[in-house]
């Protein structure tokens, strides 16, 4: 068990170091960064903001991690957010309670995910193309639901999901942490995680080992759809309205980036949801640095790109190899003899 904890910790060490570095940067441009206050029954502070504002990306990257682990990708999550937000808003406007609005939105998200999953797993369309369909069409669907307007609502229950607090902590934070833990437990306490990894590494072998890859692939897209729907509801609740044009715009790219910063390979296989969530926090912390430094907003995207390039370069295999060579040439260490490779692959 301790070995297991040790391994998990080792897996997320790079992400923890990067997060610490970016947070330190925040502290340098804004010394009050780590101050947290309790006012009017709610926690306030920049750190809380990072956790709160990062919620949509964090939710998206939970599903995205699983999709990418199967060697897929889900470009439609931003559009699904818009659809789910629109559905929740229109249900609330029609006088339904927040429970109905939330359930409806999640059901629509699941449906969207199922659509993607069927395209990928049954019709064997390349994931990037299959999910592009809904990425493009999704905003149209959302506009049809909102009838082209920004659909505002006043249901306090629904608003609470995005803007409320529980025990002083903003609800979105609790939602993404809870979902992250739940999905992690669901894949690691069952065999789901291993089977998903097996499909991502070698689908042919997995199929011949009797794994039902079709159902599993549909499931991961379905989970991704539900995560996106939840993110969409939170974003809509936060602004008390559904904006079909802008809700979740470009957020699919942030989610993919979070997964990559989390050290998960886009080629599928081994994955860590916790590392992806740390990736989402890193992205949000970068956003925070730019905001707090008071830089003119025109620079925002460029600075963000530079910081992210730096993070990715540090993680790139070439740099890792160079560092390894540097270390190896510095001090000769007794190395273990290689035991394998009696024969070569043909």
């Amino acid at each position: 068990m301790t070995a297991h904890v040790h391994n998990t910790f080792r897996r997320i060490t790079p992400q923890l170091i990067i997060l610490a570095a970016v947070l330190l940067l925040n502290f340098m441009v804004f010394p009050d960064f780590f101050r947290i206050e309790f006012q009017n029954g709610r926690l306030f502070g920049n750190l809380i903001d990072v956790l709160n504002r990062g919620a949509p990306t964090a939710l998206l990257c939970i599903g995205m991690t699983l999709v990418i682990a199967t060697r897929g990708i889900d470009l439609s999550v931003g559009a699904v957010m818009a659809i789910a937000g629109a559905v929740a808003a229109s249900l609330a406007v029609d006088g339904h309670g927040w429970q109905v609005a939330l359930t409806g939105a999640l059901a629509v998200g699941a449906l969207c995910g199922m659509w993607n999953g069927v395209l990928v797993a049954v019709l064997r369309i390349q994931p990037i193309v299959a999910t592009l369909v809904l990425m493009v069409a999704g905003r149209g669907i959302a506009q049809l639901v909102t009838e082209g307007t920004i659909l505002t609502f006043l249901d306090p229950g629904l608003i609470h999901l995005g803007a409320g607090t529980i025990l002083g902590i903003p609800t979105p934070i609790l939602i993404w942490i809870a979902l992250g833990l739940a999905v992690t437990a669901a894949v690691r306490k069952t065999a789901l995680g291993m089977l998903i990894e097996a499909i991502g590494i070698n689908e042919s072998s997995s199929r011949l080992a009797g794994i039902n890859s079709r159902v599993l692939i549909i499931s991961v897209y379905l989970i991704s759809g539900v995560c996106a729907a939840l993110a969409g509801v939170i974003v809509a609740a936060d602004i008390k309205g559904a904006d079909a044009n802008n809700a979740g715009l470009w957020l699919e790219l942030d989610a993919i980036l979070a997964v990559v910063i989390g050290g998960n390979s886009l080629l599928g296989g081994r994955f860590s949801i916790v590392a992806s969530l740390l990736g989402a926090l890193i992205i949000q912390s970068v956003n925070s640095v730019i905001l707090l430094s008071g830089m003119p907003p025109e620079f925002n995207l460029i600075i963000k790109a530079l910081i992210i390039i730096a993070i990715l370069v540090i993680q790139s295999p070439t740099v890792k190899h160079a560092l390894y060579i540097l270390r190896a040439s510095a001090e000769p260490q007794p190395s273990e003899p290689i035991k394998e490779a009696k024969e070569s692959p043909q």
């Binding site: 306490k189 069952t190 065999a191 789901l192 291993m194 089977l195 990894e197 097996a198 590494i201 070698n202 042919s204 072998s205 997995s206 199929r207 011949l208 080992a209 009797g210 794994i211 039902n212 599993l216 296989g269 081994r270 035991k339 394998e340 490779a341 009696k342 024969e343 070569s344 692959p345 043909q346």
Partner: protein
């Protein structure tokens, strides 16, 4: 004719080593002008490695290549092309969206005042193709023509560029009979021109039809070169498959076998394998023999549901069952260790432990994970029982040697306690020690009452453990041997379609 003229190309002692393996071991090959020389051998025998050494795609580790009395060491395929060695592959290596003429003259188009002269290029292309007996419109895109025509265009281009030695790597693999005729007529013309042609194929009939001599490779060594006028198909098959033809007497257990386990009737799939009947009993090893492409692997895949049969019935212990996919096959307690271990067997980045429990876990379903203690117990038990050499159960399986990977795959299936174990080339590419262990394991499993179906190109091996051997040719079961009939010479005779020797 061959003895009078000097050879065009002479390879002496070509060796190529891969980490831990010898791919080519002092191979000699001599090509005379105007001869078609067939290069034969099963998969992994070293044919493609030899070709790659000749064309410079690989650097040879030892040996000399002499072309027209000059020693050469090509560094790349372009290099060897310039020297005069051209290659045409099974998959046509041209650009289907360009015209026939552009494909022929790509990179050396006839110019006119700094522009490509289309008219001149068309004329040159038409003339060139006419020499090969092909009248096609060179202005049409290449994709407008059949694979055979594309193949001839590829040959024409290669000959124009090189012109001394032409290597044809399975040029006829995806052609039908008429198209093969077309390619052969072109080969005859080139032969008359004095080119030396290396012809690689798995179709023995075609070898005898067009080739003058054949060199057979096995496990990276030349086992013989024969003038085909003096050799029979049996001789060649023997060279390809059998170490020697002495019929060994085996202390094979009397073929008393148990109840019928699986009964297949009229089982087949169009375009893949001719429908066949097959019954496998408990405690029986049924061997599948035949050359590459004869239907061994196809039979195994069909029974396991890796490919779905489109006709026929399957009965398991008398009850009708469906085998539409591997999952259903696993549910019926079937197991398959596939031929291509790397792409269809192991899940490279998962640990050895996870690879061993994968099939069992897949059968249980994802929501019922095997308890950790059970997983460790299983993995450790099989590592010990099969003597899998590894540093740790947590290491990725791709780091294991071929033999140990194969044992881990066997462990994966044995963990599911199969009723029928299908092994496709269980001993390919593994070291001698593991080889013997796997054969011993097959015999032990049979004694324990398991039903086994083993496809192998190693005839001695099949003879050693099979209680029955089914011989396939051209995707059809042609013969079944049982008891004392199972000898390497009988199998070879059946593969080569010659009258069977008297049973000893």
């Amino acid at each position: 004719m061959a003895s009078v003229t000097d050879p065009v190309l002479e390879c002496r002692g070509i060796s190529k080593f891969f980490p831990g393996a010898i791919a080519l071991d002092a191979v000699d090959l001599t090509l005379y002008p105007g001869e078609v020389h067939a290069l034969l051998g099963e998969n992994g025998a070293g044919k493609s490695t030899l070709i790659k050494c000749l064309t410079g795609a690989y650097r040879r580790d030892a040996g000399t290549i002499v072309l027209n009395n000059q020693e050469i060491s090509p560094n790349s395929t372009q290099d060897s092309q310039k020297l005069g060695i051209g290659t045409v592959y099974q998959e046509v290596n041209l650009l289907p969206n360009l015209t026939v003429a552009e494909n022929l003259f790509l990179g050396r188009q006839p110019m006119w005042h700094g522009f490509i002269s289309q008219r001149k290029m068309m004329k040159m292309a038409r003339d060139l193709l006419a020499e090969f007996g092909l009248s096609v419109n060179p202005a049409e895109p290449l994709s407008a023509y059949s694979v055979a025509v594309q193949q001839v265009v590829a040959i024409a281009r290669a000959v124009e560029l090189s012109g001394k030695v032409l290597i044809l790597d399975e040029p006829t693999a995806s052609l039908d009979r008429d198209e093969v005729e077309l390619v052969f007529s072109v080969i005859e013309k080139l032969k008359a021109r004095g080119l030396a042609i290396v012809f690689i194929t798995h179709f023995l009939d075609q070898v005898f039809e067009i080739s003058d001599r054949a060199t057979v490779l096995r496990n990276g060594r030349v086992v013989g070169t024969r003038r085909l006028a003096d050799a029979s198909q049996t001789d060649i098959v023997t060279l390809m498959l059998g170490r020697q033809l002495e019929d060994r007497i085996h202390d094979r257990a009397p073929s008393v076998t148990g109840d019928k386990l699986i009964e297949l009737t009229n089982f087949g799939k169009r375009g893949m394998i001719t429908p066949f009947d097959l019954t496998i009993r408990k405690g029986e090893v049924v061997g599948l023999a035949g050359l590459l492409g004869s239907g061994r692997t196809e039979t195994a895949e069909l029974i396991f549901g890796a490919v779905q049969a489109d006709q026929g019935d399957a009965r398991l212990e008398g009850k009708k069952i469906s085998i539409r996919n591997p999952r259903e096959a696993v549910a019926h307690r079937f197991a398959l260790c596939p031929e291509d271990r790397k792409s269809d067997g192991i899940v490279g980045d998962l640990s050895v432990r996870e690879n061993i429990i994968l099939a069992l876990q897949a059968r249980q379903g994802w929501f019922r994970p095997l308890p950790k203690a059970k997983v460790n117990e299983l993995a450790e038990a099989y590592v010990k029982a099969l003597d899998i050499r590894l540093a740790s159960l947590d290491m990725p399986i791709r780091l294991l040697s071929g033999g140990n990977q194969q044992k881990a795959l066997l462990a994966r299936w044995l963990a599911t306690n199969p009723a029928l174990l299908i092994l496709d080339e269980p001993t390919r590419g593994i070291d001698v020690g593991a080889h013997a262990e796997i054969i011993a394991l097959i015999e032990k499993l049979r004694e324990d009452g398991m039903a086994l179906l083993v496809a192998s190109s190693e005839l001695e091996e099949l003879v050693a453990y099979s209680t029955r051997v089914i011989v396939l040719r051209d995707r059809r079961q042609v013969c079944e041997l049982a008891g004392d009939e199972i000898t390497t010479s009988n199998i070879v005779a059946a593969i080569a379609d010659e009258p069977m020797a008297e049973a000893v």
